[in-house]
Amino acid sequence: MTALDWTIVALRVAVPALTLPVLVIPLTWLERRGAAFIQDRVGPNRVGPFGLLQAVADMIKMFTKEAVTPAHADRTLYYLAPCIAVFSALSTFAVVPIGPTLRIGAREIPLIGADINIGILYVFAMTSLSVYGLVLAGWGSNNKFSLMGGIRSSAQMISYELAMTTAAAGVILAASSFRLNDIIAMQQGTWLGFIPRWNVFIQPLGFLIFFVSAFAETNRLPFDLPEAEPELVAGYHTEYSAMRFGAFQMAEYVNVVVACAITATLYFGGWSLPGFHPEGLLGVLLSVLVFTVKTAIFICVFIWVRWTLPRFRYDQLMTLGWKALLPLALVNLFWVAALEMLRLRS
């Protein structure tokens, strides 16, 4: 491998890992302005044009505030928890394809961190580790509210992971591959000339379950029970201040971006559009733009839902997960399996 090859590999790793934390800045602005819009307020509009620099100001504040460590906290776990939260959030994006293979001369650069043949399973493995960040924050803080938040998060995330993976199993079955690029490849083309061959049209139920579970997995309203500020102060991150608190916030936003990117990839064809064949550098850039727009739409839905729906009660949350979403996900799996049987017969 030459120095150029190494540079490309380093860029493929660094670009997603560095873009995501930076993306958090416009996202917090979008969230606050979106909330203000929904609640008929103005929102932050003083710092910079349209208040765009408010998020930067917030970040400077986070970094310069005093970080208080509670006297009775378990120090190892207390310091470890935000690290785990950020690590699992950032590492998930490594297998998400953000565009097609870029060809410059004889060189092929796939626009993906690591194109492994178990891509989607890797995503689930990394998101399943994110629960440790919350649980350890809850336990290590030595605070009853934090502990309650930690306990809630562990039960909630396992419950919704089941529904989420079962819904995604439908997509995996239809694509007969775990590789995310294969899943995008099977969604190319159209039916009847105008309906894109996206999974959402064959498995609308699966998409719905996956997307609802994504809210629970990222701890966003209406499923932010581990945080639940009216009952638990701030839940698992009650005792965190300054940038340690910022780390949890960052992990949450990165998780939202990743969940939206995965939803777009699994059910909406990822970076592809029917009738659009990316050629050359411009085509590749356009398909990255397509992927970004699809992801951004879902992020807006996330924000819209957060400021529209009230929080669930914990028993309602558990009932929904186990008695509604999981059985429905199984129905979706049977539906896809039946379709595949028919396809193989003909």
Partner: protein
Amino acid sequence: MSAARIVFDLAMVMAILFSGLMVINRNPVKSVLALVVAFFGLAIGYVLLFSPFIAVIQVIVYAGAILVLFLFVLMLLNIGSQPHERSGRPIQTLLGGASVVVFAALLLGTLRGSGSRIPSLSPENPAALSDAGILARTLFSGYLLHFEAVSVLLLAALVGAFVLARRVRRA
């Protein structure tokens, strides 16, 4: 020694070290965490042995689900550090120590005897090991009976746990 071999050895040392920590630690929450790290080390080992599917399943099932349930129970019962007590059973301690020595000797003997039969880091057929399809076909054809038997065993354990829990409540 290649870079992969060094990473593999480091991961295995980490797995063994943290397995030991899991046993020694007096705080059950930290024991569970040490086990998570040990499982992660094993998963790295699987990846370097050209079995990424097994590695990911290991992380999803053990680190992501089972150990989280362990943590859930520990936190629900709020168990703190347990004092280090001397066990009042000298004979059992002696027998336990002896069996560890015997097991270690057997293991060393097997490893030395097998020699080159330990799968090396350059497998003859990497596709067969990494492909989930081939794994599934083997599992659901050649080993179908074993697979079903294990699932019945798990069901029996589930029913057993349920029966035990109910009996306590009635008393």
